[in-house]
């Protein structure tokens, strides 16, 4: 399993991703590559286009121009092969209150093309890994927010995709639950998975990300390793770096 990024294996290639809502520009011409075992942090102020960019990366939203390639395949191609390589999780992702975690994992496993014994085994191993056994058959409406987020993570991981797209996954969580998510990203990185991660928590960026990409008013302000960006801007603290790249005019 890879511990560092594999530059030979680009899991994601975003090419000139652009999204307009009528006359309003949400994202404009964002391009980057992400390799296996690499974590890319997406940073930007509220309304800078992070969520729209992540939705286009995971195929939820159709770009006005540009495309996303996952393992060399367009994420919007009709066979959905590329979409099966993406696990998407947001801090706002909710669960079905009337269904149990087992039901949800089963449904999403089937949607990812798993079935029968392979799916049952996968659910059991995820339940083991994410400590879900105690509430696997309870209805999600009865679970605490921490339990729910663990179920959401398991749901995103059910097919063990090669790309994780995580949109502010820790935004609504307490420090313990946030820690679990950070550990999950670490493990995914170690397994050679590519991770796109958006957050407002600077310590998570510093701890997890190999590279960061700053968005400003829908446009890419800059991207690179934290060290390179610190040198480029002359700012040593991450919050100063954020203010430098995420604010002001392009």
């Amino acid at each position: 399993m890879n511990k560092t990024a594999d530059p030979q294996h680009a899991v994601v290639e975003a090419v000139g991703l652009t999204k307009h809502f009528g006359a309003e520009v949400a994202v404009e011409g964002v391009s980057f590559r992400l390799y296996a075992g690499e974590v890319l942090g997406i940073l930007g102020a509220n309304g800078s286009g992070k969520t729209t960019l992540l939705r286009m990366l995971s195929g939820l939203m159709r770009p006005t121009a540009g495309q996303t390639l996952i393992e060399g395949m367009d994420v919007l191609e009709p066979s959905l092969k590329a979409r099966r390589q993406v696990g998407f999780l947001t801090g706002n992702t909710r669960l079905y209150e009337k269904l149990s975690p087992r039901d949800i994992l089963h449904i999403f496993g089937e949607l990812y093309g798993l079935s029968g014994l392979a799916l049952s085994n996968r659910i059991n191993s995820l339940a083991e890994e994410m400590h879900l056994h105690a509430f696997l058959d309870k209805r999600c409406g009865q679970l605490s927010s921490g339990m729910r987020q663990r179920v959401s993570v398991a749901r995103a991981l059910v097919a063990d995709p090669s790309l994780y797209v995580l949109d502010e996954p820790t935004a609504t969580l307490d420090p313990m639950a946030s820690h679990d998510i950070v550990q999950l990203v670490q493990k995914a990185k170690a397994r050679g998975r590519a991770v796109v991660f958006s957050t407002h928590r600077m310590e998570e960026i510093e701890y997890l990300c190999d590279r960061v990409l700053f968005l400003r008013k829908g446009r890419m302000a800059t991207q690179g390793t934290l060290e390179a960006l610190k040198q480029q801007s002359g700012k040593l603290r991450l919050i100063d770096l954020f203010l430098h790249f995420a604010q002001g005019e392009l």
Binding site: E24, T52, L80, R83, T93, R94, L99, E110, L111, R155
Partner: protein, 400 residues
């Protein structure tokens, strides 16, 4: 329906069946509440009329001779003599229910003059109207009796007063209750489709958006069209189930009524039910595209709404429109014809009515089916476009 759509359909069904409130309001309420409410109203009306007919209700007249002549012809209506002012005051105070006075001699004095009678009552009081009817009937009988006496004196036969006697014969032997059943089924069944669709579309489309689970679902490797198809399948199936159950409950109530209620008093007979199985089957076939039409309209409205409250308002408009269309069956003389078969929903309500009478004409019925299928296809395409619009799925983008 295969693959992802089938998985989603099972998921929607499981969620729906576990939501007791949704099951109750979507299926039980529209299905049972309407027939039971209408049944209750009908029985209540009949019972109240029967009670009123046997209730002792006093009236008054202007002089003693009127008591002597009329009292023998009246049941449950004791008469007393009162002055007009006092009687009218008592009618207002609900101590008395009607008053009769005569201009001229009430006694039968000669054959040359008529006596003018004035009957006072209050239209606002049901009891007063009942006593007015009793007095009117007694006075009409008295009038006829005096007329016949006059003919006798003039040595003319009784037939002189009635050169023609008209007798009506209804060749269909149609019970007024069957007419009521036809109107109720026509009125309720289309409305049930829309009420059920409106409830479920609000929950499955807007509710899922508001709860944040729609984005969860769309993050899975599936096409948004498959999500829509699964939702539409469950909404249509539940609406169809509600409508069929509604039909069955109404017919069941009629059958139970013919069995339980006294035939003489109610005039209910089993042979009044003219259902033909072929026509009933055709009606059921027509309701399949109608259910898709209802679900498409409600999904489109629920997709545009941002909140559950807004969705409840907009989908209620669809239910209200169906109610207005179904109302046509209540108007006398409205039957399924070529021009009316072109009118969506109205045609279905009239087809249901015709089905109860067993007199469906196959030309207009076939046109009804064609119009419903065509509209279902058009609205299916429209609702797909609206549901898939990213502005409706994700909401407006946040301002920077």
């Amino acid at each position: 329906m295969r693959g992802a759509t089938w998985v989603l359909f099972k998921k929607e069904l499981r969620e729906f069946l576990r939501d007791k409130r949704a099951v109750f309001f979507t299926l039980v309420m529209p299905v049972l509440a309407m027939p039971l409410a209408f049944g209750g109203i009908l029985y209540g009306t009949w019972w109240a009329k029967q009670s009123l007919a046997h209730e002792v209700l006093p009236a008054s007249v202007a002089n003693r001779s009127m008591v002597d002549v009329l009292q023998g012809q009246l049941q449950h209506t004791p008469l007393e003599v009162k002055a007009r002012e006092e009687a009218l005051e008592h009618i207002t105070q609900k101590k008395l229910w009607a008053f009769v006075e005569a201009e001229g001699h009430f006694e039968e004095s000669d054959m040359q003059h008529s006596v003018k009678l004035r009957l006072y009552y209050s239209r606002q009081q049901e009891r007063s109207k009942e006593v007015k009817e009793r007095l009117h009937k007694a006075l009409e009988a008295l009038n006829q009796e005096r007329l016949e006496k006059r003919f006798e004196k003039m040595e003319l036969s009784k037939a002189f007063a009635k050169p023609m006697v008209i007798e009506e014969v209804d060749v269909t032997q149609q019970s007024p209750w069957l007419e009521m059943l036809a109107v109720l089924i026509g009125f309720c069944i289309v409305n049930t489709l829309f009420m059920s669709s409106a409830n479920l579309a609000t929950d499955l489309v807007t509710g899922e958006k508001e709860r944040g689970t729609l984005e969860t679902l769309l993050s899975a490797p599936l096409k948004p069209k498959q999500v829509l198809r699964a939702k539409q399948a469950i909404i249509s199936a539940s609406a169809l189930f509600s409508a069929f159950l509604n039909l069955a409950v109404f017919i069941g109530l009629f059958l139970v009524a013919t069995w339980v209620l006294p035939e003489k008093e109610w005039g209910l007979e089993l042979q009044h039910l003219h259902f033909q199985w072929g026509q009933l089957a055709f009606l059921c076939v027509c309701f399949v595209p109608a259910a898709f039409l209802a679900s498409s309209i409600c999904i489109a409205l629920a997709s545009v709404a941002r909140t559950l409250k807004a969705s409840q308002t907009t989908t209620s408009l669809a239910a209200l429109a169906s109610l207005m269309a179904s109302l046509v069956v209540v108007f006398p003389g409205m039957e399924l014809s070529w021009p009316l078969a072109w009118m969506p929903l109205v045609n279905l309500a009239l087809l249901a009515k015709a089905c109860v009478f067993g007199n469906v004409e196959y030309g207009p019925a076939a046109l009804t089916l064609a119009v419903t299928v065509l509209l279902a296809v058009v609205f299916q395409k429209t609702s797909t476009r609206i549901f898939l619009d990213e502005r409706n799925v994700f909401g407006a983008p946040p301002k920077a």
